[in-house]
Symmetry: C2
Amino acid sequence: MKRTKRERQTALKKSIEENPFVTDEELSAEFDVSVQTIRLDRMELAIPELRERIKHVAVKTFEDEVKSLPIDEVIGEIIDIELDEKAISIFDVKAEHVFQRNQIARGHHLFAQANSLAVAVMDEELALTVKSELQFLRPVKAGQRIVAKATVIERLPEKNRASVKVVSTVDQVTVFIGTFEMYRMTEQSEGEVG
Amino acid sequence: MKRTKRERQTALKKSIEENPFVTDEELSAEFDVSVQTIRLDRMELAIPELRERIKHVAVKTFEDEVKSLPIDEVIGEIIDIELDEKAISIFDVKAEHVFQRNQIARGHHLFAQANSLAVAVMDEELALTVKSELQFLRPVKAGQRIVAKATVIERLPEKNRASVKVVSTVDQVTVFIGTFEMYRMTEQSEGEVG
DNA sequence: CTGATGTTAGTACCAAGTGCTAATAGCGGG
DNA sequence: CCCGCTATTAGCACTTGGTACTAACATCAG
């Protein structure tokens, strides 16, 4: 038996946050109070009804769908590409890419943009990164747009290798330089790298 | 005025797929038929009612939430850490981390695990990567578990710098080696790197 | 003309609520 | 001991977006 109203309400809030799909009836059983009490509690806490809660979750997904997709495909948007020569992509740094602490973009996002651009310039999904050297020259903050330019600087076709240099800038200022040694996979060689 | 029933039903299906939040009434207006006809159509097409549809979308998000969250916090799960000394994390490679083409894990996921571990071993959200050298020794495939071990190998406290070496293995076989030159931010120095 | 197919209308019912009124329980103070 | 207050509970009418079912039409083909 929970005692104070306040205690129940904080627990209620937490419970709904953890599982938005719970009905008032289930909650009433959980807290051993009447359904009406749960309704009053929700009202005081300004927690919407089950169906509204679910809707919000669903709408959020729907919006996120576009946002989360890029993380697995090409990171950043390729705006120009010339296979085996060069490519350019842009990437807008948003709140979800930075450390909350200081709003600075996490390194792996810069790397991801550069690396996926290096893969793309080689030839779509058939290239692997073998080695890489990176320099993070300046911190990038949320709201900034990173322009990455990839150039193939060395080709060793007989070894299925090539080097790609990627320079990323924000407002014409270089923030990141990376060189990627790429391995171009052939049908036979799949899975045998290094 | 749509003619055949079949035409309407294919359009209906598409319409609901595009916007699962649409009610039968809205659909009845859209296709200029009665609400009952829409219901019959849904029945024949085995399309659930609005609330069920929304629920499915919401449940999907809920499950994805855990999956998408790590991308922004620590990549991989830290299983051991000794600040300024060493740290170990594991990362399970899933379908969403690999190239569809050949099931090989994309480089930036290996980098992300290693880099975030390097950041973590330094001291929570206060470190930035300045330089890095990577070697992708062997391809990692979906279903494999990557164990990353980070060790602080060099310290230059007066310059707020340190080097971290990360070795990632799958079944005791080294798949990735990375060295990270880290910069430890102080309150005053925020935003001025390199 | 009859029958199959498609469409519409209407009714009863359900879940998970809102919004409202009213009753009751428990306790604290005077 | 009663008064007043808060908290809780109960009950009813109503809402949305349906299901499940029955019945009436419409239309066209054979």
